[in-house]
């Protein structure tokens, strides 16, 4: 999928663990893990809002678009 999540990068920048974030926003670690691995099909605005609030960032900091060609060159 061309959309990739930079949740792990933001967590590292904020020196926060996934468990801590899950406790703060009330979402299970399993679901956050799906989001972190980029396996999620969709993200609710409420979830995005909560993550941005706790990590003090913009949605663009968590999600980024990479075109197909870029993904191939990266591989």
């Amino acid at each position: 999928m061309p959309l990739i999540t930079n949740l792990d990068v933001m967590l590292a920048k904020r020196k926060m663990t996934l468990t801590e974030l899950s406790e703060r926003i009330g979402i299970t670690i399993a679901n956050l893990s799906i989001l972190k691995k980029g396996k999620a099909r969709a993200v609710r605005f409420t979830t995005l809002e909560a993550i941005c609030r706790e990590l003090d960032c913009q949605p663009g900091d968590i999600l980024s678009y990479v075109s197909g060609n870029e993904m191939v060159s990266e591989d």
Binding site: I27, N31, I34, L35, A40, R41, A42, V43, R44
Partner: protein, 209 residues
């Protein structure tokens, strides 16, 4: 889950028994076929060649009244009447065996797929796309059961009408379309499609964070 729903366990056991019975039946069919092909003395081919040929409609009065006359009418297909054939071609037996083979294989496939679905019921992971695919395969198998035996019967009857001569009777082959089973197959097919779509929506819902 099987503890909560003992009927699932009971049906699974019944399916398992039917599964083994089907295989025993298929094995017996294969043995009989081999014996016929090898012209073994164990099977009296003359007795088997007196196979019962089924008719959808058999006009007994017509036969009895016309049997000594020049012509009569009989419609060949599955169902109500039977005619015992003597000194008939060995080909009839192979056609019939082929018909039973196809039927048995389709039933074995259905039982196998049902067992898989019931296994997922036991484990609790039921609403998945795989089960929808199994249901769709069952629909195809039911469609096969609805059409294939009748189609093969039709060709047997065509073969009979071309090769068998009975004084005073004109044999007619007719395709007996099993509408009810075909409808059943279509309904199962629709259910499978809805199930697959439902499983996809569930998956999407599960993966929405």
């Amino acid at each position: 889950m099987s503890g909560k729903y003992p009927f699932i366990k009971a049906i699974s056991v019944i399916l398992r028994i039917i599964w083994y019975l089907q295989w025993i039946f298929l094995s017996a069919l294969i043995i009989i076929s081999i014996l016929i092909v090898t012209k073994s003395s164990i099977i009296d081919i003359n007795k088997i060649s007196g196979f019962h040929i089924q008719f959808e409609k058999i006009d007994i009065q017509n036969i009895t009244s016309n049997i000594d006359k020049s012509q009569g009418h009989v419609y060949l297909s599955n169902g109500e009447g039977r005619l015992h054939m003597k000194n008939s071609s060995q080909n009839f037996i192979f056609f019939r065996l082929f018909n039973v083979f196809i039927d048995t294989l389709l039933y074995i496939l259905i039982i196998y797929l049902l067992q898989k679905i019931f296994l997922s019921l036991k484990t609790g992971v039921f609403f998945v796309k795989e089960n929808g695919v199994y249901i769709k395969k069952i629909a195809y198998a039911v469609l096969g059961i609805a059409l294939l035996p009748d189609l093969i019967n039709y060709f047997i009857n065509l073969h009979i009408t071309e090769t068998l001569e009975i004084d005073g009777i004109i044999l007619k082959a007719r395709f007996n379309f099993d509408l009810r089973t075909t409808f059943l197959a279509l309904i199962i097919f629709v259910i499978a499609k809805v199930f697959i779509k439902g499983a996809e929506l569930k998956e999407e819902h599960d993966l929405t964070i």
